[in-house]
Symmetry: C2
Subunit: 422 residues, 2 copies
């Protein structure tokens, strides 16, 4: 509930998604969550999200009811060229206006199809027919235009449902236009990214700072797999003073949290690791067993990671641990593959094999089988090898295979982050 109700000019918003795909579970609606987060940042409160059928009467009923409750309606979906896409016609009827051919949009459609070597059929050309009373929001990522309607002091915006088209329209046109037209209060946001600490421990660690926050600065805890985001949002008359106050508190929080505050404003832990390694001119390699390649995948999802990540070995079998990483057979025979000596040997082995500065090794029991009384499902050994540095740790990550793998991967990355920041 944090972050709401703190200034008088607050705007209520409803999101309406059109299309049966969401209702029958063919796709998950990720658009609404993204929009909700962006809107809450500019002080707009989403009070309802509705998914409705591709039927004129269902859409019209939803519009009437939403306009009773909210000042702003954001719609997505139903703007394609086929006949089951009825949003545009429904809106024209709802606002009692007619469709007229928009020459600019038509020219852009022609260029779009020509560039792709496709013929602009009449059904596609009709995407340039838009309601006369709306402001057209040009869509440079696709063929369906956004539409902005002013209606008795309220606003309705219709956008395509394709996520990157919707996001592009929101970021470049809808949000700037809302800020401009509605004289929303000045605001400043700053997000501290943390890892290696759970939400409750984080809240305890900074409780006294949180209690001292002035009314115009709100703090939200936003957990994601492997991390917790701390979002500071300030609202008031003057952006400059909001910024000064927010960054001062953010500095205090970061000092308190220490290395666990690994970055700001949506930086990922892997990105921060990459930046640090580039600074230090150091490289990383991996020896993964139970995480089966996930750590490597998380790293290589970052563009440019080849500059600091050399690669690694997924030594799923004991043979590979011995033959490629050079783990002595006796070490495995004596301690088992899930053990401190083995992850240490794996980490050292991959570092030497690849000639990198740092090596991470993981070996564990992901489950559902393979557990024992001594090493139950969820047991994971993590080993880290680096310049004058060796670290190992055993953690239990629970009994669900997918979660064990995911948590172990993020935890190992966090330990590396700590190590390269000593």
């Amino acid at each position: 509930m944090k972050g709401f109700g703190y200034f008088s000019s607050e705007m209520n918003c409803e999101i309406i998604t059109v299309g049966d795909e969401i209702l029958i579970g063919q796709i998950v609606d990720t658009n609404s969550a993204w929009m909700g987060e962006q809107l809450s940042k500019i002080g707009v409160r989403v009070i309802r999200i509705s998914s409705v059928q591709d039927k004129q009467e269902a859409i019209v009923e939803a519009l009437h009811q939403a306009f009773e409750r909210a000042d702003l309606l954001l719609m997505t979906g139903g703007l394609g060229p086929t006949k089951d896409d009825i949003t545009k016609h429904t809106l024209a009827a709802f606002f009692n206006t007619q469709l007229i051919r928009n020459k600019e949009v038509e020219a852009r459609l022609e260029a779009w199809f020509t560039k792709r070597g496709r013929v602009l059929k009449e059904v596609n050309r009709m995407q340039a027919d838009l309601p006369e009373s709306c402001t057209v929001l040009p869509n440079f990522m696709g063929t369906a235009s956004g539409m902005w309607f002013n209606h008795h002091g309220k606003i309705l915006v219709s956008m395509p449902g394709v996520p990157y088209e919707m996001k592009h329209l929101m970021e470049t046109q809808v949000i700037p236009k809302l800020l401009e037209e509605r004289s929303l209060p000045a605001q400043f946001h700053h997000t501290i990214m943390t890892a290696g600490i759970v939400e409750s421990a984080l809240a305890e660690a900074i409780a006294d700072i949180e209690n001292r926050l002035p009314d115009f600065i709100k703090l939200a805890y936003l957990p994601k797999p492997g991390l917790v985001r701390l979002r500071l949002s300030a609202y008031g008359a003057d952006e400059k003073s909001l910024k000064v106050a927010t960054l001062s508190f953010a500095g205090e929080i970061k000092t308190r949290i220490g290395v666990k505050a690994y970055g700001v404003n949506e930086a990922s832990l892997t990105e921060s690791i990459g930046i640090k390694l580039l600074e230090k001119q150091q490289k990383l390699s991996l020896a993964e067993s139970c995480t089966g390649g996930l750590v490597s995948h998380l790293i290589t999802s970052i563009p440019g990671s080849s500059a600091w990540y050399e690669g690694g070995v997924v030594s799923y079998s004991n043979d590979l641990k011995m033959n490629i990483l050079g783990v002595p057979h006796e070490l495995i025979a004596l301690n088992g593959a899930v053990s401190e000596p083995v992850v240490n040997a794996m980490a050292k082995g991959i570092t030497q094999l690849t000639g990198t500065d740092w090596g991470i090794a993981l070996s564990g029991v992901a489950g559902p089988s393979g557990g024992s009384e001594e090493k139950p499902v969820g047991t994971v050994w993590i080993g880290l090898f680096g310049p004058n540095f060796q670290f190992s740790e055993c953690v239990n990550f629970g009994d669900q295979r997918g979660l064990v793998i995911e948590r172990a991967a993020w935890h190992a990355l966090f330990r590396l982050w700590e190590a390269i920041n000593r």
Copy 2:
């Protein structure tokens, strides 16, 4: 729109999720999509999904409006022990009933807390206070009970929002009770899993079979990353004859699609590969460059994959391609790392290094940088090496890094599936 409107006793359903977390975008609502899919399988049509605030008036308004449109209301969320969880009290007020302590639920809560070594506080004990007029649906996965209300010939079911608790209640209690009480028609479902073919090509390939389907069998195309599911749903009077007819058409479709139909009923491609390799007593290894470990992660997400997957190398740098996989330096110097000779050498190299029967190699330009006129971003070479078998292929998977990696990974797995089914 397929799959609806085909029998008279059809039931309309609305889903209402309660809680600000969804509205402000803190979590994505995945529950509704899952429920929508399960319900459409039993012939219940979801006509609206609404996410509302944790406020009594918002919930009550949503209930009134939903009861006007639908026969069945499924609610999730707002059943926790803290004071912002108001669903239970709101429902008691809405149905004009009172909360009474349920002894069975109380005993289960006591056992639950004792087992976990925790003290049952009064705030937790109050989770056993439930509306007098409802049928309690015991929740064996958590502390919040489900509640089933009959209301003027319509039904409302309230469930916790934690996905695995909701799914457990739906599968074990809500769906069986709906089938029993509503005498829904007999039904039979069969899903054919396909890979390596896009939706439109699939539709074209089986158009004549689809046209011959009797009215009581509906076909739905359900795409997911890397695959398309073909779901056949039959509704009628007698389950046995539905089954015979459906499986006969399914057989015809599978014969037409051939090896691209890799399994049935939600089997994953990696699972099917594993079963086939186990049958053949063969093992697999991987040499990944541009996919950076994702193929390995997809494989090791399958429980028991260690029986047929030996492991692999993420040879992100050229040095690792040469030093571990034994790719000759001249091959890279002459052709570049993204080339047919190099993936062939990588595939052969990993197979020999690990002593496995099969090896997959991938090398490509994931982007955003690294592309050239000859090898633009998205270019990926895939190499496959196996018993008396060698295959290589170059595909462009587009210009978005994340999608290039994901599509390349699934495509390589599909090529392996084809190869082991020759």
